[in-house]
């Protein structure tokens, strides 16, 4: 066991996209560290399943169907957390969708959907919870950017990359604006992670090969992203704000093709 118990004891956390993948892992981790968690997801059944899992583990959780691109639903989410748990201390914005296509291959409707969920959804959720956090004297927001977007572009991925780059800069801008209210805002920038989102577009063999291309030699597990999110949400990160945390197995530390790949190092040796 690596998680110090109780870092989030007595806190209330809201997790968007909490029904699967990184959001699900974060909701479970926050609850294990003592937080009451409102699990929000576009799919009511997935949110309910995660809340049930938390309750079965002895934690406290609620579930709610929320489309983060809809301002009214997001406001209702914040109101529900405040009403049910008495306030909001932590927000994690894990709701996100993947998309493919260059600029010329992306129609405006697809673009608006990705920006609406990934970027505007982050804006709306932060906008809805910050007043409640400020009333409590502070809080922590953890957004989800991406190694693709925060640091690098990947080919054929424009809407996703732009949305995640936007999340990184939105995170920094919010950190500056809300530091005086005691609210810290940070992002995690996951590398390729073994989530249903990645599984929906890749075969198992492709996922294995993708993982092997990372310096660490494997994909991230959602729990590893949740561990970083829990750290950023906790007082262990008391002086960390505006940071974009690469949790990517070294992906962005390396160039795409290395001297070892090219055989140059072997030849020199």
């Amino acid at each position: 066991m690596t998680d110090p118990p109780g870092r989030l004891a007595g806190k209330v956390a809201v997790v968007t996209g909490g029904g699967s993948g990184i959001g699900r892992a974060a909701a479970i981790r926050f609850a294990r560290e003592g937080a009451s968690v409102l699990v929000a997801d576009i799919a009511a059944d997935r949110a309910g399943a995660v809340a049930g899992e938390i309750a079965g583990d002895g934690g406290r959780a609620g579930a709610m169907a929320v489309d983060v691109s809809d301002p009214a639903q997001v406001e209702a989410m914040a109101a529900r957390a405040g009403g049910e748990f008495g306030g909001i201390d932590v927000l994690m914005t894990a709701a996100g969708v993947l998309s493919f296509g260059s600029v010329t291959e992306t129609d405006p409707q697809a673009w608006n959907r990705v920006i609406g969920i990934n970027l505007t959804g982050t804006f709306l959720a932060a906008r809805a919870v910050i007043p409640a956090m400020a009333r409590r004297g502070g809080g922590a927001i953890v957004t989800v950017s991406s190694s693709t977007g925060a640091h690098d572009a990947s080919p054929g991925n424009v809407a996703y990359v732009a949305s995640k780059g936007g999340v990184a800069m939105l995170t920094k801008a919010m950190a500056v604006d809300h530091a005086p209210q005691g609210i810290r805002v940070n992002a995690i920038a996951p590398g390729p992670t073994a989530t249903p989102m990645l599984g929906s577009v890749m075969t198992e063999d492709e996922m294995r090969r993708f993982g092997e291309a990372m310096p660490i030699g494997r994909l991230a597990q959602p729990a590893e992203l949740a561990a970083a999110a829990a750290f950023l949400a906790s007082d262990d990160a008391s002086y960390v704000t505006g940071a974009v945390f690469a949790v990517d197995g070294g992906q962005t530390a390396k160039v795409g093709m290395t001297l070892a790949d090219l055989g140059t190092i072997a030849r020199q040796a």
Partner: protein, 264 residues
């Protein structure tokens, strides 16, 4: 339940400031401590304080820019505790002098300690870790790695070098199960920044640039170092983590400072 029960941590520059704050935290979470420092008196005082609180401490006096000293520090840590699971490199020197007046000897000393020291310690401790199948290394860079400051060229150059050292080292060390990351502290209330932080005029004035509204504490940094060293950061390597209360996020003059809000 402690994250570092039974682990051994070697802290280079562990006698004071942020290095000592790390040692305090690692000790309180169960680690055996090997403290390596050039300042004998500070080292003895730090060890005495830690031992009073029941920590297992080995002290090694030496100069991190000398390969022999670093090798013997690593050997002593292994001899005492049987392994090195975590290396923290906090040793650094700084000198504020305008570039055109900067003495070459001092430039060499700063590069030797701040950058070559990281190379020597990573290599020596990394070999021990590789032989046991892994470990974790946390190196102190600085916001000066990317945030320029007057009269601080050599220090900033070494800290920028550390960030790129860490990225490259992460690639070479990953196959050995070793993760390496850096922290980038902003302005932290330690001896190195005391002249600024505690200056009656400059101290409060500079604080206006920090969104968090306070200078960092050594413990603010130690908490991040422990996270990076722990299994919670199992998929993080080659990363440098900024811990600056928002100092380097962007423009420091706001709309309000410029009086624009009233004009609208």
């Amino acid at each position: 339940m402690s994250r570092f029960d039974g682990k051994t941590v070697l802290v280079v520059g562990g006698a004071q400031g942020m290095g000592l704050a790390c040692a305090e935290r690692f000790g309180s979470e169960g680690a055996g401590l090997a403290l390596f420092d050039i300042e004998d008196d500070a080292l003895a005082a730090a060890a005495a304080g830690l031992r009073d609180r029941g920590r297992a401490v080995e002290t090694i006096s030496g100069d991190v820019s000398r390969a022999d000293d670093v090798e013997s520090a690593v050997a002593r840590a292994v001899e005492r505790f049987g392994a090195i699971d975590v290396l923290v490199h906090a040793a650094a020197v700084v000198e504020l002098t305008p570039l055109l007046d900067f003495p070459e000897s001092l430039w060499r000393r700063i590069v030797d300690v701040n950058l070559t020291g990281v190379f020597l310690a990573t290599k020596a401790a990394g070999r021990v870790m590789a032989a046991r199948g892994g470990g974790s290394i946390v190196v102190f860079a600085s916001t000066n790695a990317f945030f320029a400051e007057e009269s601080n060229v050599p220090y900033s150059a070494t800290k920028g070098g550390i960030v790129m050292f860490v990225r490259n080292a992460a690639m070479d060390l990953a196959r050995h199960g070793i993760r390496i990351n850096a922290v980038d502290p902003g302005i932290i209330d330690t001896r190195l920044s005391a002249a600024l932080v505690h200056d009656p005029i400059a101290g409060p004035e500079y604080l206006k640039r920090i969104p968090a509204g306070r200078y960092g504490t050594a413990d603010d940094i130690a908490k991040v170092v422990l996270f990076l060293a722990s299994d919670d950061a199992a998929y993080m390597t080659g990363e440098d983590v900024i811990v600056d209360g928002g100092l380097t996020l962007g423009a420091t003059l706001g709309i309000e400072d410029l009086g624009l809000e009233g004009a609208q």
